[in-house]
Symmetry: none
Subunit: 149 residues, 2 copies
């Protein structure tokens, strides 16, 4: 599955310096994903990864980069990954498929929602923190609207 592979890609580049798509390809092969460089080029674009900096390695997207279309990104991420939502006080728990939480988390953070203070993403669960109960409720509503348009 593409999504699964992409989430491994994100983890991989955070764990070590990856300086070329060939290198990434070898790492993924070791993890059981055998794809070509062309596919990785596409994955990297879809993930919004960025390459450069002092060590010319791949990095997660810069926080400022995606702001224009951040809303659209969130929209797609929610539609694609979100499976369940629950609220506990001013916290909102979001569930996704395995390995998808970081992707949704990035999209949530990028959108800079006023009812969202921050998120912590595990493998398939995200803890989202709202400023207060009222805005936590608002966040749940927004997510539900996004996931069933």
């Amino acid at each position: 599955m593409k999504v699964r592979r992409q989430s491994i890609i994100v983890e991989t580049i955070q764990r070590q310096r990856v300086r070329s798509q060939e290198q990434l390809r070898r790492l993924l092969r070791a993890a059981g994903f055998d794809v070509t460089q062309a596919t990785l080029s596409r994955d990297i674009r879809e993930l919004g990864l960025v390459k450069g900096g002092a060590d010319r390695a791949y990095q997660p997207p810069a926080p400022t980069a995606a702001n224009g279309n951040a809303a659209a990104l969130l929209n797609r991420a929610v539609a694609e990954y979100l499976t369940r939502v629950a609220r506990v006080q001013q916290f909102v728990i979001l569930r996704t498929g395995p390995g998808q939480a970081p992707l949704l988390g990035v999209a949530l953070d990028g959108a800079r929602l006023p009812e969202l203070v921050g998120t912590i993403a595990g493998d398939d669960t995200i803890l989202a923190v709202a400023p207060d109960v009222r805005r936590a409720r608002a966040l749940v509503k927004r997510l539900e609207r996004l996931s069933r348009p």
Copy 2:
């Protein structure tokens, strides 16, 4: 002359989408700097510019790492990584650039602050737990002082 050219490069990529070094070369030539692609490749590395994201254009740098001892380390970690702080009851949410949260988290833990019970660091977010609201407020104040000396 290199310095001047590099500062023009930064301005240029902030003003418009630049998707290749050749394109950048033409833009610089129009501004009176005639250099080869090889030179731009070096400039881009020295500036720490990054290429990618949805539009595969060049972008300004993402910050990097440092080290030292406990309090000084926290000081520098906060100055370098912390981008936003918010308090919710006795919790404090700290935001950093992507992948930087663990670094700041380690620095926070190492500093053994009296107003800090513990932290959980995700990718770019830290949940810091204070003993009570009063000390959470104090923690926010301390962080704000550290980040803007």
